[in-house]
């Protein structure tokens, strides 16, 4: 364990620990318990489907904690629940996406500085570049962070975005969570050369691969990339090398494509266990700490679980809302027809 530092991010609750390791641990543990609750909600039929982030807590908490919530903006895909938690997103509104109450979730992405849940692999990455260019044009000093995975790294949009950002020197961090599995396809069938970070050289930007299960390493690498971007040093790639410990989604069956021995091996690298053990060794945490974290994390996960389970379904007429700022007459006509015929 290195020395505690101050970490930008959510102001801790009055009774919460303030040292970064403590805060990282609690966020990761809360994310894990909420993830477990979400899987259970899917099994109970409350969620139609869910995509677990199990094993990627360090990659998400470490990277998100490095962001300046006043100035920066994160662009997630659909597996960044722990990043959302770290950034203080309304988690009931986040989980609403998984309960299928509204695609994208019901939180305000602009106010949260955390884009809507986006199901297009690689699709939000150019948005991060555009946002970052806009920040540069305004001279406001914010940075964008684009989350994507090893699978998305094969998408043309990710290449176009990195090249675009390189050309413009855009203040953006490309945060690849390389969890080694793109649904059923392993890394060696997905990423030629094996490294997403290595591609940075071709775009004229720094790229670094870090141990994605080491929350401090991810935090340090992301903070360094953000500092460089903020100082006018342009974009970077940070590849957090981690492991998707759960199936791709609750509809997936890993038994058809990967060796359980691999999963057992990575279980020993669990990022939460690793941080907990390191904190004990460094004398930063004791049983009382872990017990209190467990209580708070469980209470928070259960609060979110209960609230999203109880959240009202959208009004049927919501379907017609927000298609346009200035709605069309034809859509209004269709809505009237629906009101007469469908109710």
């Amino acid at each position: 364990m290195s020395q505690p530092r101050s970490v930008p991010g959510a102001p801790p609750a009055p009774d919460a620990p303030t040292l970064p390791a403590h805060r990282f641990y609690e966020l990761m543990r809360t994310a894990r318990l909420l993830d477990d609750e979400a899987v259970a909600l899917q099994r109970q039929g409350v969620f139609p489907a869910y995509v677990s982030l199990r094993g990627q807590e360090a990659a998400q908490v470490g990277s998100a904690a490095a962001l300046d919530r006043e100035r920066d903006f994160a662009f997630p895909t659909y597996r960044e629940m722990a990043a959302a938690l770290t950034l203080g997103v309304d988690m009931v509104g986040y989980m609403a996406s998984h309960r299928a109450l509204w695609h994208g979730g019901t939180y305000d992405p602009i106010a949260s500085r955390f884009g809507s849940v986006n199901a297009v692999v690689g699709g939000p990455v150019p948005h991060a570049v555009g946002w970052a260019i806009g920040e540069r044009l305004r001279g406001s000093g914010g940075c964008a962070l684009a989350y994507f995975g090893d699978g998305a790294s094969s998408e043309g949009d990710v290449h176009e975005s990195m090249n675009f950002a390189g050309v413009f020197g855009a203040p953006v961090v490309f945060l690849c969570q390389n969890n080694q599995w793109a649904l059923s396809v392993p890394l060696d069938r997905q990423v030629a050369g094996g490294s997403v970070a290595a591609r940075a050289a071709g775009y004229g930007m720094p790229g670094v691969r870090v141990d994605g299960n080491d929350v401090e390493a991810v935090y340090e690498a992301t903070a360094e990339a953000l500092q460089r971007a903020r100082g006018g040093g342009g974009p970077s790639i940070v590849e957090a090398f981690t492991y998707r410990a759960a199936p791709h989604s609750t509809s997936d069956d890993t038994g058809r494509y990967r060796d359980p021995a691999e999963e057992r091996q990575w279980r020993d690298q669990d990022p939460i266990d690793r941080l907990g053990a390191a904190m004990r060794t460094a004398g930063l945490a004791d049983d009382a700490f872990f017990a209190s974290v467990e209580d708070r994390a469980r209470a928070e996960a259960e609060r979110i679980r209960d609230a999203v389970s109880a959240a009202p379904e959208p009004a049927p007429s919501d379907m017609f809302e927000h298609v346009y700022r200035e709605p069309t007459e034809e859509l209004a006509r269709q809505r009237r027809a629906w009101e007469q015929e469908a109710l």
Binding site: G104, A132, T328, L331
Partner: protein
């Protein structure tokens, strides 16, 4: 061109009755509209491939970078999907992007960003992230261009919820419709009929624009209504001119907004003329002519004296050079359709 583009707002140059309206080409008109948009709103950005020092392959953005700076008007890498994706991100950061995709056929690589992102972001975010993006797309055929430079994608985009689609037919229309599109807070696909880029006419820059989603009657008539957009408006005017010599008075309706379509004006015209011929460059099958015919059927059925005729491109890939003349709706083909609708006998 350059000098014109560098001048201030055309309205200022036309004060007082002494200044006669200056004819400008459609690409000049669009240039003037872009300049005005850049001038009136500091958040407006113009970008795309070759739009900077070159001024665009059609010189539509000529002089804009020099006048407004390379932070407001800039070249991008050759990456259509990222151009639209970057526009989405800029819009999320409070900007008003006016990206250009260089040619119709090269919009296809950007379709994911257009359809899955730009068109839906406002909806997905429940109104938190407006997308005031005007996507300029030099479109349609008629200039014997290489493959992928003469495509008609309007039905594709008109089918997408969240988008609005507009096609100007002349310089004045281009000026007003572009400014209107840029000022609008919804994403608009602005399809420029490149075959008409060099048509010159006074643009009437002070004329107010009609509301979004309204069609316009460009020539009144009583025997049948020709419905068209873009270049085909001119072809239909030619047809109407010829038909008038034979005592057939055709109404020509410029639909211009292909989403939303002005059903009221369309139905009103056809109820009056009782006959409709819809003309477009895009291939016939699943083209917007089918939508127009359906709308006419729904709103003017009892007035119709004949089935709605469709004159369109054939269901073939857009053909090369000399074949273009065979492919595009010709004056003769439109006249045949007019004849069929006028001579139609109920069984």
């Amino acid at each position: 061109m350059t000098e014109l583009a560098l001048r201030p707002d055309p309205e200022e140059r036309r004060e007082g009755p002494a200044a006669p309206p200056t004819p400008v080409s459609m690409q000049q008109a669009i240039n003037l509209a872009l300049a005005r948009a850049l001038e009136e709103d500091d958040t407006t950005l113009v970008f795309g491939e070759d739009v900077g020092p070159l001024g665009g392959v059609f010189r539509v953005t000529d002089g804009l970078q020099r006048r407004f700076g390379d932070h407001r008007v800039f070249d991008t890498p050759l990456a259509e999907s990222a151009i639209v994706g970057v526009a989405v991100g800029l819009a999320m950061n409070g900007w008003r992007p006016v990206p250009e995709l260089q040619f119709d056929g090269f919009a296809y690589p950007a379709v994911d960003q257009i359809v899955n992102q730009m068109a839906r972001m406002h909806y997905r975010t429940r109104g938190a992230a407006p997308m005031p993006i005007t996507l300029r797309l030099p479109s349609f055929g008629g200039i014997q261009a290489p493959e992928h430079h003469g495509e008609s994608l309007e039905a594709l985009f008109a089918h997408v919820p969240g988008l609005k689609v507009v096609v100007p037919a002349d310089p004045g229309e281009a000026y007003r419709l572009l400014l209107q599109s840029v000022r609008a807070d919804d994403p608009v696909v602005f399809m420029e009929p490149k075959a008409r880029y060099w048509d010159r006419a006074p643009i009437g820059a002070t004329e107010p624009a009609d509301p979004i989603g309204t069609a316009r009657v460009v020539r009144p008539g009583r025997h049948a209504t020709l419905i068209a957009w873009g270049s085909m408006v001119h072809r239909c005017l030619q047809v109407a001119e010829l038909a008038a010599e034979d005592g057939v008075h055709l109404e020509v309706l410029d639909l211009r907004w292909l989403k939303p379509i002005d059903t009221a004006t369309l139905a009103e015209s056809v109820r009056r003329t009782r006959r409709a011929v819809v003309v477009h460059e895009a291939p016939l099958t699943a083209g917007l002519g089918g939508e127009v015919a359906a709308l006419v059927g729904e709103h003017a059925f009892s007035s119709l004296a004949a089935p709605v005729e469709r004159v369109a491109g054939y269901d073939v890939p857009y053909p090369a050079g000399p074949l273009e003349r065979q492919y595009l709706p010709s004056v003769d083909r439109i006249l045949f359709a007019v004849q069929r609708t006028l001579e139609f006998q109920r069984a």
